[in-house]
Symmetry: C2
Subunit: 148 residues, 2 copies
DNA sequence: GATACTTGATAATTATAAATATCAAGTTCT
DNA sequence: AGAACTTGATATTTATAATTATCAAGTATC
């Protein structure tokens, strides 16, 4: 049971071993806001299979595609969360994620709107854009379906 | 006369001096596909005032925002040129700029469609997105106006 | 026709991002 | 209680992106 790939089961050391990287690197990705691992009450991190896949994708973008972390953050900041979550205009006005373009939306402490009640780790915006290549195809479908 | 900021008037050495950078750097940006300077019949480059502004913006993104050139290219590749130029479906099928997400559209040698007849340097897609921060706001207006 | 530019290409340099090592202190778990 | 983890933080190392220097050959300009 619990074959659910979203379930957080790996400690940071096993995650690091599985990924072939060091523990500080994992902490660094988190500090930069690229990943949102599960946290136990004791503040201990746990990673799911989906988390590992996401981190592999991030590493490929950094190491193979040569896109810096700041670049990845700006790309992720373009995900139209306001559209996906159907924010109200009032929500948008108060939302740094909407106004800025430096960090993914899950980097901000949302207190108002839909995001105020959500856990980013379980949010569609976070879950559906693990691969940043998906962002362009999302915009493609928006533009192509607009006038249908 | 010719106060038009689009007119190519600066040689590469004066452009480099005005920008405070070296000539090889300017050639590098061009080789990477970030800029498309005017070229005389003799292959000599000329830069306009708009070109200089664009290059300043690129430099700020690289040096201040810490976004790598590969990152800028991926961001620029997300500009919905197919939507701006109203490409046909047939155009899109043949278009690398539509399918890939590594280079801005003006990096590809278009032979078919609207782009086949255009000079990228004078294209709306190139001209309107000198600042890559404009891309997100473009998507904002698309998503917000969609259901109006 | 001579001086000062340009071209592309390669090599060397500089800057800095990404990753790791190490630390003291606090948890987890048998 | 003790062995093996965890936490955050700082310092260091490594990798490599960004920039510049230099070259021979061609072009512009006076």
């Amino acid at each position: 049971m619990s074959k659910n790939p979203e379930t957080p089961v790996f400690t940071i050391s096993t995650a690091a071993t599985l990924l072939g990287i060091s523990i500080p690197t994992l902490r660094m990705y988190e500090k930069e806001g690229l990943i949102v691992p599960f946290k136990k009450e004791s503040n201990q991190r746990l990673y799911s299979q989906t988390d590992l896949d996401r981190i592999r994708c991030i590493r490929e973008t950094i190491n193979k595609d040569k896109i810096s972390i700041a670049g990845i953050k700006r790309i992720l900041s373009m995900i139209p969360c306001w559209d996906i979550l159907r924010c109200t205009e009032q929500d948008r006005i108060n939302c740094l994620a909407f106004k800025e373009h430096t960090n993914p939306c899950w980097d901000y402490n949302h207190t108002t709107g839909i995001c105020g009640t959500k856990n980013c780790r379980e949010c569609d915006v976070y879950l559906n854009f693990a691969e940043c290549s998906k962002i362009k195809s999302h915009f493609i479908s928006i533009t192509l379906n607009r006038n249908s």
